[in-house]
């Protein structure tokens, strides 16, 4: 009896702590990002907005996959009239492709700064600006102090920030709300049709503040994100596909 009371007390205290930290209560399903079970990894089971999300990629293919996944998230965040600032040192994103993730590329402003220091400065300035929905920066390395500065900026303005770390030398501890890693998975096609299907990813949450790490297989279709289990993937022989190609 006592033990149960203790458990209830602790869970209540935990909830209070989260509320004080500004984590919203799970209210209705309209505000979800459609990530399904992956959202349960976050505190209160809500995808946190108004924080910094960090994505890690170690090669160009993974960074392209991360871009696509973030594109899907941006589509949900920006809805109809949002605006996103995309900052990097060289601009390699193909705006036409972002359209297929439900984002109007015309509402993304691409900024390219030469030095990484300037990219971070630009991101901090952009995060302080209220009229923006999301800010995305592509850099190589983010350290704790820098992430702390960005975190302080978003706490005032509630803008969502995304950091894409390409090929970091070492993964340093940061104050970001979540660290993601997105890698490609072989696509599925309905009924064994030839050709490539909708993009599939292995989405890993390496670190979640006040939550627990998680891993899911997620696919993107024009209807939105969908989770699936790996068993569904039927690894087909190349020859089989090859015969069907003609």
């Amino acid at each position: 009896m006592m033990l149960e009371d203790k458990q209830a007390l602790i869970s209540k205290l935990k909830k209070d702590l989260l509320a004080w930290q500004g984590v919203p209560q799970r209210s209705n399903d309209a505000s979800t990002m459609g990530l399904g079970p992956l959202e349960k990894a976050f505190p209160n089971g809500v995808f946190p907005k108004g924080v910094i999300h960090e994505f890690v990629s170690f090669n160009r293919m993974d960074s392209a996959a991360s871009c696509g996944f973030i594109g899907g998230l941006l589509g949900k965040l920006m809805q109809t009239d949002g605006i996103c600032i995309w900052i990097g040192s060289i601009q390699t994103v193909f705006p036409a492709a972002i359209r297929s993730f439900g984002v109007d590329p015309a509402s993304i402003v691409f900024v390219s700064m030469k030095r990484e220091k300037d990219v971070l400065w630009a991101m901090e300035e952009a995060l302080k600006c209220h009229g923006i929905t999301a800010v995305l920066a592509e850099i190589h390395q983010l350290d704790f102090v820098q992430s702390r500065r960005l975190q302080l900026a978003v706490e005032k303005s509630r803008v969502t920030g995304f950091i894409l770390q390409h090929n970091p030398k070492i993964l340093l501890a940061t104050s970001c709300a979540a660290r993601w890693k997105v890698t490609s998975l072989p696509s599925q096609s309905d009924d064994g049709l030839p050709g490539i299907g909708y993009p599939c990813w292995d989405v890993e949450l390496l670190k979640v503040r006040n939550g627990s790490p998680a891993k899911e297989q997620i696919t993107w279709s024009p209807q939105g994100f969908k989770t699936f289990s790996k068993k569904e993937i039927q690894v087909k022989d190349w020859n089989y596909n090859y015969q069907n190609l003609g």
Binding site: A64, I83, F94, S100, P105, F110, S184, P199, L245
Partner: protein, 499 residues
Amino acid sequence: MKKRFASLWFPHLKTDWLTVCKPHLQNIPFVLSIAAQGRLIVSGSNLLAEQAGVHSGMAIADARAFIPSLKIINEQAGLAEKLLHSIAEWCIRYTPQVALDTPDGIILDISGCAHLWGGEAAYLTSIVSKFRQHGYDVRMGIADTIGAAWAVAHFGHEDIIINEQAQSETLLPLSPAALRLEDVQLKRLQSLGLRSIGSFSKMPRSVLRRRFGDSLLLRLDQAMGLEDEFVISIKPILPYEERLPCLEPICTANGIELALEDLLNKLCKRLSGEGKGLRAAELNCHRVDGKIETITIETNRATAQVKHILQLFVLKIPQIEPALGIELFTLGVSKVETADPVQENLWNNRIGLKNPTVTELLDRLKSRDANCDISRYVPSAHYWPERSMKIAAKMDEVAAVDWQTARPRPTRLLKIPERIIVTAPIPDYPPILFRYKGDTYTIRKADGPERIEREWWIDPGEHRDYYAVEDLQGRRFWLYRAGHYDGQADQWFIHGFFA
């Protein structure tokens, strides 16, 4: 408004400059020489040489006869113009309108400027003493007309200020040469015994016109103020410009910021009153030592918000080198546009590109790093991937066509397609495997080909057959073969990575 002009005459402009550059020339007579009509003639002489009887236009051989030890220096071409121009630029701190009066003078339009120095006498002393300190011999005259100011600067015995409407009394005893007449006219006046302006100014105009032509009457009228005369300023005055002269030279960033705020308050009040906004502006800081430091800003949208423009300038203040101090600030607007009326508080909370805080943010990014690119893309009616989008010219530009989404496009597009080595089974089939940057990728699934023709009227070349391929691990690539299959291995390229 009543016009007032000042004329500055440098009798020994070129030699004074040489003496400033080479102080050892100070105590020896020297002349500048140029070649003309097959001989060397004197083009400028210093005071010592002049006292000995050497004057401009004399042959060098004659000058040597006067002073055997005369030093002769070759004159560089265009020296006088260059000197005058830099002097005129320096004089901008006294008035915004400065014009050249070749070969050895400048004209200042000082209307409404002199009171800032405490009256015309103090103004004249300030300018003249500055030049004399630097070692230039200068004569100055101030009058209602350019002609009268020129006359007293050249023919008055000291620096003279002619009071308003009093030019005729001062000019009448002077020699006719003070009217800037041509040599022929001067000679004719001389031979007729007319040795002062007063001796012919009262003659009937028709008589003067018949004997000397229209130009004498024009010059006379210009000097007397009956005819208007205009000067062509070396720097065109911007329609929106503010000036702030400082009592004490300013050399701190804080001081510059205060000066800027003062200038911007005046400028923006005027701009917003006229429904205009600035797109580009420049701040010129005139230093005590004669140099001018300039910083410029640009904005993405016409604005007249003091706070925002000041923020943009403040980012650039560290670029200004004040040295011994700045004595004059001028703020000019180089690009003006009609501004959208902004209802500040009501609309500040809307999201998106219409929010003024977003454009202000982009302006700040741009002024931090002038090389940074800020671009927004709109679709363009081309199939060729590189041309399928274009940079929006304005922040609120709306696309005329829709984005093409029928075919898959990679999230990352390489700026320049990179060459790959492929193994393809038969012509027009997707590759089985390809090598890119030392790694081999085995292809499991493929879509294509999607043929995209090159627009021959834009650039010549071969078409591309695009394949979207997926390797064993699910990584996706956008490959293409340039032109038709002809058995050569080096016509395959990678152009992008899919999500």
